[in-house]
Symmetry: C2
């Protein structure tokens, strides 16, 4: 190997080094933390932190920022997981692109197992879920299996980014 990468006793910590991981961890837990606070927490100057955050954004390590919302309060009280399977398994599998235009689909995961993708959807009511399922089937040529979410004990807990040595 020509390059020396971050590794430690068999555990690979990814291409982001210690201080950067601290920054990412802090911002994942509080996306609006100021550069001033970030500097205090990391022991760096404000400018140094600023520079690192911009670099992390540019490299795509930080992909963006989001407010975490109460979906009940904004009229989207119904969450569901929709597993999909192509009706014609020999057809090209471009379901994610075919579904990207549909509002209400929050995420699309390609998975191992019986089905090919799991979608996470948020809608306003059972009728809206029904309509969305019809659109999913029609748009992607798939069958669907839906698991309705009854309640959400917790969600979006900040990631357990490891801070061990490089």
């Amino acid at each position: 190997m020509g390059t020396s990468r971050a590794a430690c006793a068999g555990r690979y910590f990814g291409p982001v080094e210690e201080i950067d991981r601290r920054i990412v961890r802090l911002l994942a837990a509080d996306g609006r933390m100021s550069f001033t606070d970030l500097a205090k927490q990391t022991g760096l100057s404000v400018s140094a932190v600023h520079q690192r955050v911009r670099r992390l954004e540019k490299r795509g390590v930080i992909r963006g920022y989001a407010a975490l919302v109460d979906y009940d309060a904004v009229g989207l009280p119904l969450t569901a997981f929709v597993s999909i399977k192509p009706i014609d398994p020999s057809a090209p599998d471009d379901a994610p692109e075919r579904l990207a235009h549909l509002e209400g689909i929050e995420a699309c995961y390609s998975v191992a197992g019986e089905e090919s993708y799991i979608l996470k959807v948020r809608v306003g009511s059972p009728v809206e879920l029904e309509e969305l399922l019809q659109q999913i089937r029609a748009s992607a040529g798939v069958s669907t299996r839906t698991t309705v979410v009854l309640s959400i004990p917790y969600e979006h807990r900040p990631p357990a980014i490891d801070l061990s040595p490089d």
Copy 2:
């Protein structure tokens, strides 16, 4: 009814009115948007926006802010969905609390269907997934069924908050 709530042709838009929904939508898409920009996008004064955002935070409509991170880059390249089912169905169901201390569990959904909860987990490697699954089974007295995520076409798309009339 004594109170008049937001309703429109059979569609209930939640307890958050038009302009507030605009604000929430904008912040969900860009959690670091400045109050100045927010004011421009909504046609309000900066102070008015400021006041509304604080109120939305206090009411819990905005629950927090988070940086969206590239999990591969920070050493958590393995995502999975873990469906759990109590081994003893007559025992009290407090799985969410019993699992809350475990790092690596990002979300916990109570669901309708064969299993009782779906967990979303992020770990660094297959071995770490194995260890986490053992901890889940031991901590909550459940059996697990795991669906490994192979790739993530998209995730955390901003919610389709409706902006129709109240």
